[in-house]
């Protein structure tokens, strides 16, 4: 018996007798001899709970997490503070262990939480219809592209800004290939998207707000340009800056998607988190995934159900608007609890705090000899600089002092080989920023001296 099973010898003989077979092996008689394994799996034997714990603790100890260094890494996922009440609530078994609420009478808690989540996403994005979550950010961009493909039949091109997260652009390309759609990149100019020659073959214009380099885009102008040629406007948004920024809805955007990790979810080396997906009323019946709706029971009592299910794979099969089934309900729950914790005023205060500290960090860093801003557009919690020194060596020097200055842009933007993307969450204090500035200053200076740049 394993520690998760309960069949005693007595149980076994009673159960086999009831079935009418002599052994467990007989239950597998239908499996042809030619496909049987006939040897144990080449995996180690099981371990006690304590041994497993120790093994996984040792693995964790070989990672340098945001607990172990002062980290300014962002680029899509951010080290925000997650309040204790989020952990406490989402660890309740009633939220942790059920499946999709197919039986609404015994799933009102999860369904109502989805409804509250959808409301919060609508408030953030200014768009009236939100689903109950998709997997994560970049695949949400592809999911939005799929909606655009179907609502603009005959059009064969996605115009995606080079300011959209590189993972999102690559994910869109992966999908678009199967849809026989082309993906064209709109270049950046001065840090923001430059829309050149949009034709009437464009199904959607896709931008990111703020973009990957941290710059706030003019969504209104972009949405207007998209609509002028009959394309949809899609914005991949960072949800916390939306507390301050003009909403995608106000700007005329048709679909707002985004990565939800920064809303009460852990970094978890990249997942699980959640993606959000919100759209106009006109697109309501083309949206992918679960949607909770309010209704009444036979006694007239208020209740919630999964609604508009004729969009979904389990009903519509090959005609479904998406193949998504399991999404990210628990992560979205963490998101709505976090947003309730922040509240109407708190979310603005948090965003303003990040805005101020980010401005401070940007000013201090670009005052370093050799370090220049990569653009001068407004930013909220992330900004890009050129180091004027080899970025790899500079990062290595900072690391020695327990500081991780941010993300190297060169991997995704060869034109910014020594570019650095710096994220300032509310967990990075002025003291942390001052340490970053000091470390970076001495590292850049040392590297510039090493290559003989006159200062």
């Amino acid at each position: 018996m394993t520690r998760y099973t309960s069949v005693t010898d007595t149980d076994l003989s009673e159960m086999l007798a009831a079935i009418g077979v002599g052994s467990i092996e007989e239950l597998f008689a239908g499996i042809p001899a030619g496909v049987r394994l006939n040897r144990p799996l080449a995996l180690a034997d099981g371990l006690s709970e304590q041994e497993v714990f120790e093994e996984f603790r040792a693995l964790a100890a070989r990672n340098v997490s945001a607990e172990d260094e002062i980290s300014f890494l962002g680029a899509g996922m951010y080290d925000h503070y997650v309040p204790a009440l989020v952990d406490s609530i989402i660890m309740r078994s009633e939220f942790l262990t059920p499946y999709t609420p197919y039986q609404p009478e015994i799933s009102q808690g999860g369904l109502q939480a989805m409804f509250e989540y959808q409301t919060a996403i609508s408030e953030l994005t200014g768009l009236p219809v939100s689903n109950a979550s998709v997997y994560e950010g970049p695949s949400a961009v592809a999911a939005a592209g799929y909606v655009a493909k179907y609502t603009t039949p005959g059009r064969r091109k996605f115009m995606i800004s080079r300011g959209v997260h590189p993972h999102s652009r690559e994910t869109l390309r992966t999908h678009a290939h199967a849809w026989d759609m082309d993906v064209t990149e709109a270049p950046l100019s001065g840090g923001v998207t430059q829309l050149l020659e949009l034709g009437d073959d464009v199904a959607a214009v896709i931008v990111q707000q703020p973009n990957f380099l941290g710059a706030v885009e003019d969504l209104e102008a972009i949405a207007g340009a998209a609509h002028e040629v009959g394309a949809l406007a899609i914005a991949a948004c960072d949800p916390l800056p939306l507390a301050l920024l003009k909403t995608p809805g106000e700007c005329g955007v048709d679909i707002a998607v985004g990565e939800g990790q920064s809303l009460g979810n852990r970094l978890d080396f990249g997942g699980p988190s959640f993606g959000f997906f919100a759209a106009t009323e006109a697109l309501m019946r083309r949206i992918p995934g679960r949607i909770a709706g309010e209704t009444k029971d036979v006694d007239g009592k208020r209740g919630f159900v999964l609604t508009l299910q004729t969009r979904e794979q389990h009903i519509r099969r090959e005609k479904a608007t998406s193949n998504i089934c399991t999404a990210q309900a628990l992560n979205a729950l963490a998101g709505v609890i976090y947003l309730s914790w922040l509240g109407k005023r708190g979310i603005v205060e948090l965003a303003e705090l990040m805005l101020q500290r980010t401005a401070y960090a940007r000013e201090r860093l670009t005052a370093i000899d050799g370090v220049t801003p990569l653009h001068d557009k407004p930013v909220v919690r992330e900004f890009a600089v050129e180091l004027g020194a080899p970025v790899g060596q500079v990062l290595a020097r900072c690391r020695e002092q327990g500081i991780n200055p941010g993300y190297r842009l060169g991997r995704d933007y060869p034109e910014h080989a020594d570019g650095l993307l710096v994220a300032i969450t509310e967990r990075r204090t002025r003291a942390d920023i001052d340490r970053l500035v000091a470390a970076l200053e001495s590292a850049v200076l040392a590297e510039r001296e090493a290559v003989g740049v006159s200062t």
Partner: protein
Amino acid sequence: MIREADDTLTIYERSRPGRRAFSAPELDVPERPLDELLPSECRRDKPPRLPEVAEPEIVRHYNRLSKRNFDLDTGFYPLGSCTMKHNPKLHERIAALPGHARLHPLQDAHQAQGALELMWRLQDALGEIAGLPHVSLQPSAGSQGELAGVLLTRAYHEDRGEHRTKVLTPDTAHGTNPATVTMGGYDVVKVKSDADGNVDLDDLSAKADEDVACLMLTNPSTLGLFETGIEEIERIVHGVGATLYYDGANLNAIMGICRPGDMGFDIVHFNLHKSFTQPHGGGGPGAGPVAVSERIEPYLPRPQVVRRESSTNGKEPFFDLDYDRPKSIGRLRGFQGNYGVFVRSYAYIRSLGAPGLKEASETAVLNANYLLARLREHGVAEYLPAAYDRLCMHEFVLSGEPMRRELHVKTLDLAKRLLDHGVHPPTVYFPLIVEEALMVEPTETETKETLDRFAAIVATILKEAREDPEIARNAPYTTPVRRLDEAGAARHPVVRQAMQLAGS
């Protein structure tokens, strides 16, 4: 007792201006005017109307909501095809260790060796379980794993200069299969099942031609039956140059007993939230890794976790992310996949080991066959016969058609009456080829007493229905709400809180 004013109030309806749970950290940098940092034309006029509630009310609100959910830690949850097995508590503890939970996905590989090694070891273990040598952990859920499989198939054919247009799926397939085929840019061709619930080999032969890119198959099937003709299926599909795709939804039945790779499958997806105990979370998160054969390997998503042997003898190997994969289908999502899920699933594999995984599958099949036998004993079989009179694997399908005909009680009514007895109903009305289908998957982590009790409850409900079918037809009675108007909800969708509230 004075009742809570209304236990269905939303968090927005509990909001009052001025209340708050959040207090911001100190502004420790010189404050600059907002207009200077963010010009007013960039800014929204009004803040998002999030609730204004203090911590005690938030906690109480969501605790109240939680009590309106049924969950696996509370009772029996035989939801067919979803594998609602116990979620070990240890897994939550280790996933929360800061070295896992606060690790940034773009951390340099040298500073993430524990995570990358864990992923590499999980890939290795999943490959061994599937009998296929190469694994990508990237897909976010089973459905994304399926899409990965279809895109891998497309890349494989295109690389050979072939342009195929169709994908075959059995009529018993999960809805995600045909939906995925469409998303992958192929046309769906449905293959019939024969009288025993197997894939109809004649129909398969007739439909398998040079335009077919792939057959997607679940084995055991969604009927809970092993495809006894799997070897012939493999010959037919590979005979026309198509790939064979294994939907891993039912892998829980065969771990350590037989392997998709040995059956000839080219691509397999795993549902880590089914066979490998990731909690279902009320509808996610999950993860849907794929395992593939040598010929599919060049196309796996990017990046791939690899182990690089050290050039210096005696040095530790180095675990890395390999982006240099020119034939890759590319990314399916951001970063490296749902790492938190990998931690839990790998912990499960380490806990059970080879003998334990095999025992889990054997016990799942034993429990299912025992429950099926008990449901026959109780005189239930005349109303709820097994759809196929065979031994089952880890789940089985009953047909409520005689019950509907003779008692005027539908499968849906039976399901709703089960709610009053404190068990989650099985999956209903799936697979589509069985009338009034009821799909039961007890899993290996349930005791014999629980299975006995479930059989007794079904018998009781049928006895009650013979006397007064109205009781089941109007059930449930004891749940937080009763049957809900789903048609009305879809006709006039209300999908967010109206904000004209007291105090907003």
